[in-house]
Amino acid sequence: MDNDKKLEEVKKVRKVWEEKVRAPSAKRFRMEDRPTEFHSPDEIPDFDFLRDVGFPGQYPYTAAPYAVSLVPDIRRGSKPGGLRRAGGYSGYGTPEDTRDYYLEMKKLNWLGGPNLAQDLPTQCGYDSDNPEMEGEVGKVGVAVDTLRDFEVIFEAFTEKQELDKIATNVTNNAAASMMVSNYLSLADKRGVSWSKLKCTPQNDILKEFVSRGTYIYPPKPSMRMFRDSLVFFTEHLPGINITSIGGYHIREGGASREEELAFAMSIGIAYLQEGINAGVDIDDFAPKFTFNGFGGSLEVYKEIAFHRAARRMWAKIVKERFGAKNPNSMRIRVPIFAHIGCSSTTKQRALNNLSRGVVGGMAGVLSGGPPMAFPPYDEPLGLGWSLEARQLAEDATRILMYETNMCDVLDPFAGSYFMEALTTETEEAAWKEIDRIETMGGAVKAIETGYMQQAVSRSAADRQKKIDNRETLLVGVNCFTEDYELDVTTSKMIEHPYSEENRYAAEQKQITNLKEVKRTRDNREVTRLLKELEVAAKDESKNLMPLFIDLSKAYASLQEQCDVLRNIFGEWTTDSFL
């Protein structure tokens, strides 16, 4: 009662202020059409703290996923976290090149397991000796054709870094099950129990159709592959995450913030439904879902609201729609919080990307998690450009972590009239879009018809228009580009461990090695297993994971397996949606 009266009073005073105080100021400073915002309590009349925010680490997780900050306290001996894994997302050339790269990075105190980048043929189910793969082998990641290649890569991880002591990330989607099978086969060879393995395959095929592009089969059979992995991992691999869902890639592809949130949630819903359809209990598999990350931008406030909304939405989806009881099922597990997004970096005056990265890192803290001043400033300059850039990004992150003390407080914007209104606004826009997708028949249908793909390209085109007409300003790109502006550059002092020479020589080396594997393995066994795969793949009810493991151990190549599946599942070729 009393509160309502107070808000009415605020509304009245606001109206007068807008007309009598702000309007003349706005006119004077030439911003009548978009005066500077100020937010007041009347904007959140229905705000309910326990319902809308709650306490950190519990439903609905709006404030933060965990009850305390995730910043390791190095004064108390906690190991430093952040970017310092075995060379971040990395890998290139032949398996030998990648193994040697990891050994090199260990000297720089890069700890932990690999975050393994594979080349495009490996991500798209092709072998290195396929003539159509010329120019692609070993370029954007390491070439993995058979189990032999995993054996070589992981020669860099033994003893203190044996498979039961490290966590491995494998960024593969269409062939995720094959890569996990390689990992399991390797564990068997080394006598490491599957129960000790920690691994996160990306295994998020639906976003590949929407924006990233490394699909093989059409959406429906791809979901069958996903189901197989979900069921198998839930039953046999307690330390292996089922998926690493990317909103991130969808935003980087050009989607607007609201589109990304809606599409990521819809895709998550589709994956969760696969588990339910397969008869697995939600609380058995949902805790094994992770998110790779979400997109970002320099618009800090909106990104903070995004993360708060995303956590609240996922919690609601898993609890209310899927009936989960385990709080761990409802929590978004994600390694990075708000950040600027790689597509926000500029090639022009690239050092400015460090400043941009810091903005993102601050947004990260304010959005409920540890900061990450990501990406390093050399992002638009090409792969393997500079170790110094990585050092500076890490140091910027450390400064935020240890000098600002910002991480002493979780979700400082909680209760803010502005932030709560913005969070709700973001969430409501996303629900509207999710409803639209549900009406279409869900995420898979929305992808088959090209709806998501078209939304992404339209938004991308929109953004470029705004850059072209200077509605959106990019420092050094479409403003402040006069001759008197200094084109500050930097040179590299330390040689990056990626050898360009090796990268270009990798293709021939790998072809030779693959030929040798094919010559010396038991080819009758491979043929027999491939025939078994053909039969099993035709049966929707069969889980193909055990066969992938057998095929891996027999040194069947990736393309040999994928070609069998291509014949049965078909190939996705419709991607010229504009």
């Binding site: 495009l120 692609e136 370029k139 592809g253 792969l383 085109a461 850059i467 479409n478 991607d575």
Partner: protein
């Protein structure tokens, strides 16, 4: 009344590179500036690209590659155009092309490379000035 013939452009993504945002944005942008644009989608071979370019009777081929395979694919397209005696078609490229590869590509016959941050106006002007009449 003589209608000014629209410039016809094909935007293509050779190889496995899946990053199609730039290619799509360029397609929309060139359309907005009055050109007729065909977008091939991903995973095009050099042969497919040239075939489509000739079929569609284009004036410009735009190649987009961010995966480092440009030194393999871009020259292949040029070679095939030479074979088909279609060297008048303007070939431009973009994506992630290291600065020191640009002279190599130009020597092979790529007219210009437009990297990240290029404004649409620049590309439109370049095409209008360099396309065959």
């Amino acid at each position: 009344m003589d209608e000014e013939k629209k410039i016809r452009v094909i935007i293509a993504k050779p190889g496995l590179d899946g990053h199609d945002r730039g290619a799509k944005v360029l397609a929309f942008g060139l359309r907005d500036h009055g050109m007729e644009v065909i977008y091939t989608g991903r995973r095009q071979s050099a042969e497919k690209i040239v075939k489509a370019a000739l079929q569609e009777d284009v004036d410009v081929i735009g190649l987009s590659c961010l995966s480092g395979a440009h030194l393999t694919f871009f020259p292949k397209v040029i070679d095939l155009l030479k074979e088909k005696k279609a060297e008048e078609i303007l070939v431009i490229g973009g994506g992630i092309i290291p600065d020191d590869h640009i002279p190599i590509l130009k020597e092979k016959g790529i007219s210009e490379i437009f990297g990240p941050g290029t404004m649409m106006d620049e590309i439109v002007t370049y095409i209008r000035e360099h396309v065959r009449k």
